[in-house]
Assembly symmetry: C2
Homo-oligomer: 140 residues x 2
């Protein structure tokens, strides 16, 4: 696992934002977490490291990190947002039962995105590809 802090610190400086323990901890947590946690999950897990952090700070920090582009926010069908430190083009494989999310990446997706973005044209600022598929746990 590489050091994610340097990247974040450099971007925060570039944007004129402060480097705070809350921002570092939440970013680090997501960088080491494949599970696309909700804000609530981030809050309850991060309290081990920062016991006095508030829910509001978690929400604002996640939103800030998404604004500067180091994480992505996914509003899913159960009404909550999930957060992902994988900012490259990929497919979110979402279990329609338990809302577990895993990332899927392949050449097919990269090529499709190249072709599609050219086809659509204009100032494209992002994309999101979801596939709904029952996870192995729910299948049973």
């Amino acid at each position: 696992m590489h050091q994610p802090d340097e990247e974040l610190v450099s971007i925060l400086h570039k944007k004129g934002l402060k480097v705070t323990p809350q921002r570092l901890a939440i970013f680090r947590y997501l960088a080491n977490n494949e599970s696309h946690p909700s804000a609530e999950k981030v809050y309850s897990d991060i309290k081990g490291e920062l016991p006095t952090i508030s829910q509001g700070t978690v929400y604002k920090t996640l939103s800030t990190l998404a604004d500067i582009g180091v994480i992505t926010e996914l509003k899913i069908n159960n009404g909550q947002s999930r957060y992902d430190s994988n900012t490259s083009v990929h497919v979110n494989v979402i279990c329609p039962r338990c809302n577990n999310i895993t990332d899927y990446q392949s050449e097919t997706i990269i090529k499709f995105w190249k072709k599609l973005s050219k086809e659509i044209g204009g100032k494209i600022s992002g994309q999101r590809f979801d596939v709904y598929k029952e996870c192995s746990t729910c299948e049973k």
Copy 2:
């Protein structure tokens, strides 16, 4: 414009659900509407036809129509759901400023979906492809 009622009535019968004026009106409204309206917009527009309809009924009806697969629900980043009677594989081109949504369809997408669903495998129950791009109105 073809008659959308027959299709809906047949599916409702198949599922053992009742054919109500509310369900017909909301489905017809969406079938003739490209703009991916919110529940609130559906409610305020449908009141012209059904003045006594309640917001709760609109929400429940939209959810029912999505459950039986005749419309799709899109939770977007401003926190609301948008509804679309286009249930074929397509890309939602979403304006990140005003949240206007237009559908984009092409061979590229059809081919990609065939390839991707084979690649991922398993019981896939749906998909959603979004592209964020400023609409012509917001560009100005």
